[in-house]
Each structure stands twice: as structure tokens, then as C-alpha cells.
């Protein structure tokens, strides 16, 4: 393609130096986001999804964090490993970000209005008065009632849901082309979750803004995203469109996540099946597939060698990192078989 993707991440690797050794938190992640697209990154806690996006934003604490390789290109230009001054050309301006816990993610001693206005003053050089006016509009846009009064209130005077709206208002201040939402609904009540997701979708469809949504909740994914990356143990194990991920799951882990998800559809006696065990210790990632120890279909090769991403030529965005997709592998019940070109080897 001639045009660049909005954000293109390739082979990103991140490590953390800790007391107990080096944690390889992200191990070569590739994905891209188009303008106006909603991409969800799913995975259980500790799989590296938050580290991935925070590394792109340059906000992981360094040290102990360290980006050991890869690149992230925003509209074609590299944004990984920039110094604070250069990074601030896109942070808050081109890419907005909201976090998991709105209660602790806002400065407790500054008014909401001042915190939103701050972004505008820094990136657009507005006066306090102009910035506050825009802040008020932003609060209205994120459906915060009594916006004028709310501007002068402090975070502790807000409820969780209202705070997350204020966070969104703040991240939208400079009309970014990409919004990264790092588990935006995890800390909120279920009813509030739905409102926030609706708000995000609405803003996205109206402004044509792209969103990267980090979550561990498949229901949230189904509701919001167009494309999905499933992460496990610091790697993307399956990626594809929402439909592909949900109806043509090609990785046993995705399948496991689905079985562990409650649903209100049809099947009467559906039993929730937890995935046994826990993710591998990333101090020393296994040489084989990270999921092999928990995988009910594990084969000899799975313990020896980490599988590559197998992608389907007919559905080029659908790919899975699983030996079961290799040509010659046994067919497994319930698992979608990617249509690979039977070729070399054997």
C-alpha cells in the first residue's frame, strides 16, 4: 500500500529489570491501526498489553523498563525512543490516552477544568480563559451535566464514571487522531461501563478517531472493536477481525477465553470452563509455545519451539501463532483451520 497506516508497530520488545531478574514483558509484537479503526488488544493480566501501549507512548518508567527493539511509526514517522521534548509533539496532541483507574489518574489537588485546560495551554498555546471555555465544551461533549460547575470541582468530588468522562474529555482536548484506552472500564460498575463504551464509540464514529482499546473483557471487545489482537505471555497469539476471532478462533487460547466467558445466548446448560494453570514466568520464557503447558492440544513440537504466526491468504489479516495451524498438523475439533497454502517442507 502506498499510504501509511495511522500507527504501525513492528517487532516491539520491552524488558523490565527487577530484583529477581529481567522480565521480558513484550516479546516482538506487530500490529497496525488505520484511521478511524477500533482495535482491541485482549489478554489476561500480565500478558503485556498495557506495557505495549505505554511503551509506544513512552510512559513506562525507564529504568527499570527498557525498549529493546522494534519500531512504532505514527503516520510514517518513528515515535519510539524519543526524548521527552520530541515525544511531547505527539503525546496528548496526536495520541490521547485514558487509564484504568480514573480515581487515581487525575491530580487530586487541581480542578478538573484546570487539568483539561492544561493540555490545551501546553499544546495549542491558548490563554487560561480560552482553554477553560474549550474545556467546558469538552465536558458537555462527554455528557457531564452541569459542566460549568464541574469545571471548578476537584477529582474527589466526582464519581468514578464522571471522572472517566472527564479523563476522556481531557484526552480529546487536542482532537487526537488516535485514542489509547488502557482498560477504561475495568474499575467501573457494569452499568457505567456500558455508558463509557457507548461514549467512546460515539466519539469515534463522529470524529473519525482511531481507538486502541486495551481490555481483558471479551464482552467489551465484541461490543466495540472492529479488529482484535489476542495477547499471551508478551506475544500476539491471534489477530483478526472481531468476527474471525469470535467465530473462527484459530488459537486454543482464544478458544479457552471464549469458553471462560459468560454469555446469555442460546446454549442452556453451558458451563463456564476456566483455563487451568497460570501464564509462564516471563523471567525465563519457555523456549516453546508459551501456552503449551496449559494447552489441551499440546504436541511435541509445542514444547520445543515457539510457533510463527500462520496467516490465512484468503483472510490476510487473520493469523494465529499455533503449531496446530502448521501444514500437516492434526485437525482439532472446535478450532478453526486456517487455509494455508500447503507448500514446502514435509
Amino acid at each position: 500500500m502506498g499510504t501509511h497506516k495511522l500507527l504501525e508497530v513492528s517487532n516491539l520488545s520491552v524488558e523490565f529489570e527487577t530484583y529477581g531478574g529481567v522480565v521480558k514483558a513484550v516479546r516482538g509484537v506487530d500490529f497496525g491501526v488505520d484511521a478511524g479503526e477500533v482495535l482491541a488488544i485482549v489478554g489476561e493480566s500480565g500478558c503485556g498489553k498495557s506495557v505495549t501501549v505505554q511503551s509506544i507512548m513512552g510512559i513506562i518508567p525507564m529504568p527499570p523498563g527498557k525498549i529493546t527493539g522494534g519500531s512504532a511509526k505514527l503516520k510514517g514517522s518513528e515515535i519510539l525512543g524519543l526524548d521527552a521534548q520530541a515525544a511531547n509533539q505527539f503525546r496528548g496532541k496526536e495520541i490521547g490516552m485514558i487509564f484504568q483507574d480514573p480515581m487515581t489518574s487525575l491530580n487530586p489537588t487541581m480542578t478538573i477544568g484546570a487539568q483539561i485546560a492544561e493540555t490545551l495551554k501546553v499544546h495549542r498555546g491558548l490563554s487560561t480563559k480560552q482553554a477553560t471555555e474549550i474545556a467546558s465544551e469538552l465536558l458537555i461533549r462527554t455528557r457531564i451535566p452541569e459542566a460549568q460547575k464541574r469545571l471548578h470541582q476537584y477529582p474527589f468530588e466526582f464519581s468514578g464514571g464522571m471522572l472517566q468522562r472527564a479523563m476522556i474529555a481531557q484526552s480529546l482536548a487536542c482532537s487526537p487522531s488516535l485514542l489509547i484506552a488502557d482498560e477504561p472500564t475495568t474499575a467501573l460498575d457494569v452499568t457505567i461501563q456500558a455508558q463509557i463504551l457507548d461514549l467512546l464509540k460515539e466519539l469515534q464514529s463522529r470524529d473519525g478517531m482511531a481507538i486502541i482499546l486495551i481490555t481483558h473483557d471479551l464482552a467489551v471487545v465484541a461490543r466495540t472493536a472492529q479488529n482484535v489482537c489476542v495477547m499471551y505471555a508478551g506475544q500476539i497469539v491471534e489477530q483478526g477481525s472481531v468476527d474471525e476471532i469470535f467465530y473462527k478462533s484459530a488459537h486454543p487460547y482464544t478458544l479457552g477465553l471464549k469458553l471462560a466467558m459468560p454469555s446469555n445466548v442460546s446454549q442452556q446448560n453451558k458451563k463456564l470452563e476456566p483455563i487451568p494453570g497460570s501464564p509462564p514466568d516471563l523471567f525465563s520464557p519457555p523456549s516453546g509455545c508459551g501456552y503449551a503447558a496449559r494447552c489441551p492440544h499440546a504436541m511435541r513440537i509445542c514444547h520445543k519451539e515457539n510457533p510463527p504466526l500462520f496467516s490465512d491468504p484468503r483472510e490476510p489479516h487473520h493469523a494465529a501463532r499455533c503449531w496446530l495451524q502448521a501444514p500437516g498438523a492434526p485437525k482439532t475439533e472446535g478450532l478453526h483451520q486456517l487455509h494455508l497454502i500447503a507448500s514446502h517442507g514435509e
Binding site: 511531547n88 496528548g92 487525575l106 491530580n107 487530586p108 489537588t109 492544561e118 501546553v122 476537584y154
Partner: protein
């Protein structure tokens, strides 16, 4: 806020009553009687003296009179200097102690915040290591050693350069206050520096600092606007108790530097067993400290919106 202030003042008054009562009881538990080291040679003189100080009345009555006088702000007459009222002594000497104390706490607070912020900024680098080494010294060395060393240093500076750089002891001008207040504030400054440093380092890991970085704010703006301001709050909360430490530390500094403050007077009164002066100054100091703590709490309320608006 108003209700909060009112409540604090009320409980402060109750505390002062408790202090006054405890003082009264403690003084009356003393074996022997206060006239022991008076020149009460004959029984008549003793009786007259006892009558003069109201010591012939039953304890309960003495207590009521004592409280009554105190409410009117009358602490009685000194035992050793019989023409001097305790009130006069306090009036004469407290302003000196207060001036010294205010300068010391100002110096300690400003220094503590500045050094603490610096150490956090240069964490594990040379400035941090040097300042934290000094802080550990400041916490571990007793105040009287600082006072003695401060004076020794002054004497030497004046000798080496053959000038009177700053007066070695005494009271009167601002230059008399500088070294004593520095010495007095040193321990508190060390404590505040430590507190400020840990507070700063804790705040660096807060989510809202991450948000500020994600917003694209410059490091200096994050430092001043977001980190420093929030880090100062816990420092302010310990200022109240630290005022008490500075007050008692003042005793030593006043002794060493020959400053005519109330602290030195109190120590003297204790050594001479001047009962009315001891009781008067104890209650006065107690009341003073209680209200300083309340004052700091109220000031804190103004700085922290979470307290102010609740």
C-alpha cells in the same frame, strides 16, 4: 470548614484544661512543700507565706482558685522573685523565644522542601547522596551538640579572620538570631527533607503523574505543577508536632547561646524549683502548642481541597 475549625478549637480548650489539671496534680504530688527552700525560718513566716500563696487552703479549693485565675490569664507570682508576676515573665521572655522559633521553623520548612525536592530530582546521584548523608547526620546528632558546634564554629571564624562575623552569644539584633535559629532548625530540617524526599518519590509512581506524561506536559511542568505541590502536603501535616520539638529544642539553644528566652527561664525555674513559674510556663507552653497544631491543621485544610471542601 467553619464547623471543623470550631470543633478543633473546642477540643483544644478541653486539652488545655487537661494540661492545666495534670500540671496542678503533678506539682502537688511533689514530696515536701514548695516553701521548703524559702527563707521561712520561723513558723509565723511560713504561715504568712503559705497564706500569701494560698497554700493553707484545701487542695480542692486551691484547684478552683488556680483554674479561676488561669481563665483570667493570671498565673500568679514567682516564688523566687517575689515582686515579679509570672505573666510579666512570660510577656518579657516569650517574644524572644517566639522570634527564634519562627525563624527556625521557617528555615527548617523552606530548607526541608528545597533539599527534599532536590534529592528526589537527583535520585541516587551525587547531590542526593551528599544531602541524604547530611540528613542522616542531622537526625542522629542531638540538638545541643549542634548548638555547641555552632558556637564553636562562630568563635573560630571570628578568631581566624579577626573580625566579628556574627555575635557568638547574646540577644538584641537580627544577627544574634541567625546562627541560633539555624542550629535550632537543623534537626527539623533534616526530618522534613527526608519526608519530602520519600513523598516526592512516592508521587512519581502515582497514576496522575503517568497521566500528565501521557498528556505531553514538559518534565519541568510535571515536576512543579503536579509532583511538588502534592508532595508538600504530608510535609505540612508534620509541621504542627515539629513546632513542639523546636520549642523544647529552644531550651538548649537559649542556654548555650545565652539568649534571654522563656525556655532558658523555664530551665532556670526548674532548677530553682520556682513552682508558680513552672506551672505557669507549662500551661502556657501547652496552650501555645495545642493552638499551633490547630493552626497548622487549618492551614493544611486550605492547601488540600480534599479537607477544605468536606
Amino acid at each position: 470548614m467553619l464547623k471543623y475549625t470550631f470543633g478543633r478549637i473546642l477540643s483544644g480548650l478541653v486539652t488545655i484544661w487537661f494540661i492545666a489539671t495534670a500540671t496542678f496534680l503533678a506539682m502537688h504530688a511533689v514530696p515536701g512543700d514548695p516553701l521548703m527552700n524559702e527563707k521561712a525560718t520561723t513558723p509565723e513566716i511560713r504561715e504568712n507565706l503559705a497564706r500569701k500563696y494560698g497554700l493553707d487552703k484545701p487542695i480542692a479549693e486551691q484547684y478552683v482558685i488556680y483554674l479561676g485565675n488561669m481563665v483570667q490569664g493570671d498565673f500568679g507570682i514567682s516564688f523566687t522573685q517575689q515582686n515579679r508576676k509570672v505573666n510579666d515573665i512570660i510577656q518579657d521572655h516569650f517574644p524572644v523565644s517566639a522570634a527564634l522559633g519562627i525563624l527556625a521553623i521557617t528555615f527548617a520548612a523552606l530548607g526541608g522542601i528545597l533539599w527534599g525536592a532536590l534529592t528526589a530530582l537527583y535520585r541516587n546521584q551525587l547531590p542526593d547522596i551528599i544531602i541524604m548523608f547530611l540528613v542522616i547526620l542531622g537526625i542522629s546528632v542531638p540538638s545541643f551538640v549542634f548548638a555547641a558546634l555552632g558556637q564553636l564554629l562562630l568563635v573560630n571564624i571570628n578568631q581566624w579572620f579577626n573580625i566579628s562575623f556574627l555575635p557568638v552569644a547574646g540577644w538584641g539584633t537580627f544577627s544574634h538570631m541567625i546562627v541560633p535559629s539555624l542550629v535550632l532548625g537543623l534537626g527539623t530540617m533534616a526530618l522534613l527533607t527526608r519526608l519530602m524526599r520519600s513523598s516526592m518519590l512516592e508521587i512519581v509512581n502515582e497514576d496522575f503523574i503517568r497521566t500528565a506524561r501521557a498528556k505531553g506536559l514538559s518534565p519541568s511542568r510535571i515536576f512543579f505543577q503536579h509532583q511538588l505541590r502534592n508532595a508538600i502536603l504530608p510535609v505540612v501535616t508534620v509541621l504542627g508536632p515539629q513546632i513542639a520539638a523546636i520549642t523544647t529544642g529552644g531550651f538548649v539553644v537559649e542556654l548555650v547561646f545565652a539568649i534571654p528566652g522563656l525556655g532558658r527561664y523555664f530551665v532556670q525555674a526548674v532548677q530553682q524549683l520556682d513552682y508558680t513559674v513552672i506551672m505557669g510556663t507549662t500551661v502556657f507552653y501547652g496552650a501555645f502548642l495545642v493552638f499551633m497544631v490547630i493552626l497548622v491543621d487549618i492551614i493544611y485544610g486550605f492547601i488540600d481541597p480534599r479537607v477544605r471542601l468536606k
